[in-house]
């Protein structure tokens, strides 16, 4: 009960921090999708790109998140503001699942459908936009879903470098040795991650069964 009262008393703070957190996650995901999907499409068009692109994304993935935040600190413009820095690092992490799933989704389109599309005189762009992308949407969405849930979690670490968000409560709670403050950050973060997972899951299901 005490915990519930604590949360209610600090409702404003929690909403504020959740808004900051969401901001970090949403911008990072938009960046990752905006960069990742075209890169994925490029890989399906020119297979030799697979190694450099997927390879780099993989490397970014293996760097521990805190270290990646640290590496980006001295970068001009990016390193000047912690939230820019955090968004850049979060976007980098989200790239791999998105690129991978874009590639898998497009390559998973039935070859006979793709052949028929080409044979009917669709240009490359038309095949991509009208056939390949719509058909690979469920797989792509699955990648976005995973990436978003990860990002919500990793964004809590962003507070360590000053980007704010729900992680700040966790770090402050650790310094103050106050579990309630830690939970003030941990519980909303978990709820956000869950909501993202469920939300995208529903969307996926909707797409798999048109009408």
């Amino acid at each position: 009960m005490r915990l519930v009262h604590f949360f209610l008393a600090h409702g404003d703070e929690i909403l504020q921090a959740s808004a900051e957190h969401l901001w970090l996650v949403v911008i990072a995901m938009l960046l990752a999708i905006g960069i990742g999907v075209p890169l994925g499409i490029a890989v399906t068009r020119k297979p030799w790109l697979s190694k450099p692109i997927l390879g780099s994304a993989n490397i970014a993935e293996t760097i521990p998140s805190l270290a990646l935040f640290g590496f980006l600190l001295p970068v001009p413009w990016l390193g000047a503001r912690a939230d820019r820095l955090a968004i850049a690092a979060l976007a980098m992490y989200a790239l791999l699942p998105i690129i991978r799933n874009t590639v898998a989704g497009i390559q998973g389109v039935d070859a006979s459908v793709r052949d028929a599309a080409r044979a009917m005189g669709m240009t490359g762009k038309q095949v991509l936009l009208r056939v390949e992308l719509p058909l690979s949407l469920p797989v792509l969405l699955a990648g976005i879903r995973v990436a978003t849930v990860w990002t919500v979690g990793i964004a809590t670490i962003a507070a360590a470098i000053g980007a704010g968000g729900l992680g700040e409560f966790i770090f402050r709670g650790l310094a103050m040795v106050d579990n309630r403050v830690i939970l003030e950050g941990a519980i909303p973060a978990a709820i956000l991650a869950l909501a993202a997972d469920v939300g995208f899951g529903l969307l996926e299901r909707r797409l798999r069964h048109p009408q």
Binding site: D12, E13, L15, Q16, S18, A19, E20, L22, W23, V26, R81, A82, D83, A159, A160, I161, G162, A163, G164, E168, F171, R172, A175, M176, D178, A195, G199, L202, L203, R206
Partner: protein
């Protein structure tokens, strides 16, 4: 079109969060602090001062991890003010080399902050939280030493103890040894800051580098040696505030100026001692200090002690 509706609903959820957050921020002042007790005390003093003098709502966001975090929070508008130290602002934030003229350091920090960040640095609160070279009080009496130069004669007989930070910082161990030409009996023992004074008392070490505002200095068993060569740069405590907040609420500036010069080294040592040594609640310690201040001012102005109904009510919303 029916397929669009769930999308739109989804977008509403984060929008609601953001709106809520924005609306509530307008009339709330957020005071931040770094993650050690002295900072929480200072933050509490600022917060209560603003609450009683201006009637504004104040939110506390204490124990932020460090200088960089606080600075970023200030830039992003997540906090409206916190207490920084001039030396730290100069070297860690403005990235300039340290020097020892405290007035000049303050001026340079104030200039730099306004130009580069649009942040206002208020006048110093009164104390200097710098490194302090500390010896046992009876040693100081026996050898008749008051300054670090005095001690230089005896250090070859002494074992030093330092915290990790003092060891690593450019304005720490290495520079000290060079400036004063110190030699020690043994290599420094590096230990946790909290244990330094205990080790000093237990004679495991003979000289330590603490801070000028450490609560342990209150008990009288230790002597701080004067930095006669002014090796350590000044670390005057100054409130740093976002200029937008001062524009929106100019009364805050007055409330803060009221505090300038009011907290001496000894005052800070005392408050640190009460919180860390006597485990008193930070908010109460701050409240006591402000009450004493108010009483002193009232007495000084009118020569009379105000009645209970006239005393400022500290609303004490803090933790």
């Amino acid at each position: 079109m029916n397929q669009m509706r769930p999308w739109i609903m989804l977008a509403f959820v984060p929008a609601i969060f953001v709106l809520f957050g924005c609306v509530n921020r307008r009339n709330t002042i957020v005071v931040g602090s770094k993650n050690f007790p002295e900072q929480a005390i200072l933050g509490e003093i600022l917060a209560q001062q603003i609450e009683t003098q201006t009637g504004l709502r104040v939110e506390r966001r204490f124990y932020l991890s460090g200088t960089y975090i606080c600075h970023q929070a200030l830039l992003a508008g997540r906090i409206d003010m916190y207490v920084e130290y001039t030396g730290t602002a100069l070297t860690a934030i403005l990235k300039k080399p340290p020097f020892s003229d405290s007035r000049a350091v303050f001026d340079e920090v104030r200039e730099g902050y306004v130009q580069r960040f649009g942040l206002v640095v208020e006048p110093p609160l009164g104390f200097n939280d710098s490194f302090a070279i500390v010896v046992r009080a009876d040693d100081a009496r026996r050898y008749g030493i008051h300054t670090i130069s005095d001690a230089a004669k005896y250090t070859p007989l002494w074992r030093p103890g330092f915290g990790y930070e003092f060891q690593e910082r450019p304005d720490g161990y290495d520079g000290l040894v060079k400036d004063y030409g110190l030699k020690f009996a043994a290599a420094p023992r590096i230990m946790d800051l909290g244990l330094l004074y205990r080790a000093l008392l237990a004679r495991q070490v003979d000289v330590v580098a603490g801070n000028t505002t450490d609560g342990q200095l209150v008990i009288g068993a230790f002597t701080v040696l004067t930095d006669d060569k002014h090796y350590f740069p000044p670390y005057q405590a100054v409130p740093v505030v976002r200029s937008e907040v001062l524009q929106q609420h100019p009364e805050i500036a007055n409330a803060l100026i009221d505090l300038s010069g009011k907290i001496s080294d000894k005052d800070m040592q005392q408050m640190n001692y009460e919180v860390i040594g006597q485990h008193k609640d930070t908010a109460s310690v701050a409240r006591e200090f402000l009450r004493a201040q108010y009483l002193n001012t009232a007495f000084a102005l009118t020569g009379a002690v105000p009645s209970k109904t006239n005393q400022g009510r500290a609303r004490g919303v803090g933790r």
